[in-house]
């Protein structure tokens, strides 16, 4: 690991942010379709076909590929269990961006749950 731990940390955070952007774009695309998919395989295929016609999904794919490239570098240098654990910083990014950008109602239990996950991440990281 000749690049050093801080370089790896920076890359993992970058991958997390790219991943958060991916999720936000995908979720907003799905929200814009205003459907709740359930049941048959045919309906799921129809939904996916509708979904991949939206430009946001392809922008999301672009960010996802970027995240993957960064992630591949990280995995070539760090333990999978360590890299995956620090990468979970995006739970915080997701909670805040869902609340403020997607206007989801994030109540007390959800913040508490996210807080526990953050504690867990810190323990996993120093462990």
């Amino acid at each position: 690991m000749k690049e050093g731990l801080s370089f790896i940390l920076l890359l993992i955070i970058a991958a997390s942010i790219l991943d958060t952007v991916t999720q936000l774009l995908l979720k907003s695309a799905i929200n814009s379709l205003r459907v709740s998919v359930s049941g048959s395989l045919g309906k799921i295929i129809q939904f996916i076909m509708q979904l991949i016609r939206l430009p946001q999904v392809w922008v999301a794919l672009f960010f996802s590929v970027l995240a993957l490239c960064v992630w591949l570098f990280v995995l070539s240098r760090a333990d999978l269990s360590l890299a995956f654990s620090i990468g979970s910083l995006h739970y915080i990014f997701i909670a805040f961006s869902s609340r403020f950008l997607l206007k989801e109602k994030v109540g007390f239990k959800r913040w508490l749950g996210t807080f526990f996950i953050v504690i867990g991440i810190v323990l996993v990281t120093i462990g």
Partner: protein
């Protein structure tokens, strides 16, 4: 318009996409190991890294898993909040260390297991929060 409650079907879909995610991580780690001999401080080194990575069939197996995960994940997101789906999906924090121990011979300390325990408590709270409204 959107269902707020996590149903058993959605939870099972999330767990299944977690297994796929774990499988994807394993495949990517395997393919990244194939490129780890290359030095990444110059352009030809970076090119060599991706050459090594793209030649392994683990990478392509990983891509298939990603496509499957996309379909399942999109279906789930059409029914529940993003701020619920993402935390609940952290079940992979249990699966990934298990795979790391068994297949990659990595060490997972007691402290990391405690962290995993906290993450699971968090996931339970977030799941319950989907029933708030």
């Amino acid at each position: 318009m959107f269902k707020k409650k996590i149903t058993l079907t959605i939870f099972l879909l999330l767990v299944f996409s977690d297994f796929l995610e774990t499988f994807t991580q394993f495949c990517f780690k395997k393919s990244a190991l194939a490129g780890s001999a290359a030095a990444l401080n110059n352009l030809s080194g970076i090119f060599g890294f991706f050459q090594g990575v793209f030649l392994t069939w683990f990478l392509w197996l990983g891509f298939i898993a990603v496509a499957l995960t996309f379909i399942i994940w999109s279906t789930v997101l059409s029914r529940i909040d993003l701020s619920v789906a993402v935390p609940v999906a952290s079940f992979s924090y249990v699966l990934v260390p298990l795979v790391s121990i068994i297949l990659l011979q990595e060490k997972v300390s007691i402290l990391r297991w405690e962290g995993i325990f906290f993450i699971l408590i968090g996931v339970i709270f977030v799941s319950l929060s989907s029933k708030e409204r």
